[in-house]
């Protein structure tokens, strides 16, 4: 059941993230953003800082989507 809950939350998080990406790009370039449910729960400069903040707020890492927000117009080549 916990797994099903996690998967459902992940899909909700991704939907929220995609719907708000333009706004994130404008407001949080070069930041890491954590979303959970339908809200932003943390914004930080580095992965370590964002997970430290989530731990401080006692938000489970299983229930968040953490993504890096690139600068608008930047090109990514792997």
């Amino acid at each position: 059941m916990e797994e099903a809950k996690m998967i459902k939350m992940a899909e909700k998080n991704l939907k929220f993230f995609n719907e708000n990406f333009k706004s994130f790009e404008e407001n949080y370039p070069n930041k890491f953003v954590a979303v959970s449910g339908s809200k932003v729960v943390a914004i930080e400069d580095s992965p370590k800082k964002i997970f430290d903040e989530l731990d401080t707020k006692e938000i489970s890492r299983s229930m968040v989507l953490v993504e890096f927000i690139p600068m608008a117009g930047s090109i990514l080549v792997l």
Partner: protein, 140 residues
């Protein structure tokens, strides 16, 4: 059997898939890019932190040279990890891998890559149309 893949990744065209990872200390869901240009599957430093896969004290076993000047140091995580991907019929498809590479550089690109090793070992092939449709297909 097909696993749909998102093509528009934040307005980019990299094929990506929401992946549910079990077998680590903290099960979590992460976005992973399917990259046929990578021989190996690489967990980003960010995603390793989310899954609480330790990188401190691990020996660097590989370094990767990309088209930029910098190199990327990787260490090998040798425990079994399970990836769950959602199929077209909304049921889950499980992929087990016996270890993967983890980026030890927190400044490196924070993107997890599903490489050719995972596709090859699980008989998966990638269909990719940049106009919108992409999926992984299981060859039985």
């Amino acid at each position: 059997m097909r696993i749909p893949i998102n093509v528009k990744y934040k307005e980019r065209l990299m094929p990506n898939v929401l992946t549910h990872v079990f077998g680590s200390r903290v099960p979590s869901s992460i976005l992973a890019v399917v990259d046929t240009g990578s021989d190996i599957t690489i967990l980003s430093n960010k995603d390793a932190l989310q899954l609480q896969i330790p990188t401190k004290g691990m020996t660097v076993t590989k370094n990767i040279q990309g088209i930029a000047r910098g190199k990327l140091d990787l260490c090998q995580y040798n425990k079994k990890i399970s990836f769950y991907l959602k199929k077209e019929d909304q049921t889950s498809f499980k992929i087990e891998i016996n270890g993967l590479y983890v980026s030890v550089d927190s400044e490196a690109c924070p993107i997890t890559i599903i490489g050719m090793d995972l596709l090859k070992n699980n008989n998966l092939r990638l269909f990719y149309d940049p106009q919108g449709e992409a999926y992984l297909e299981k060859l039985d």
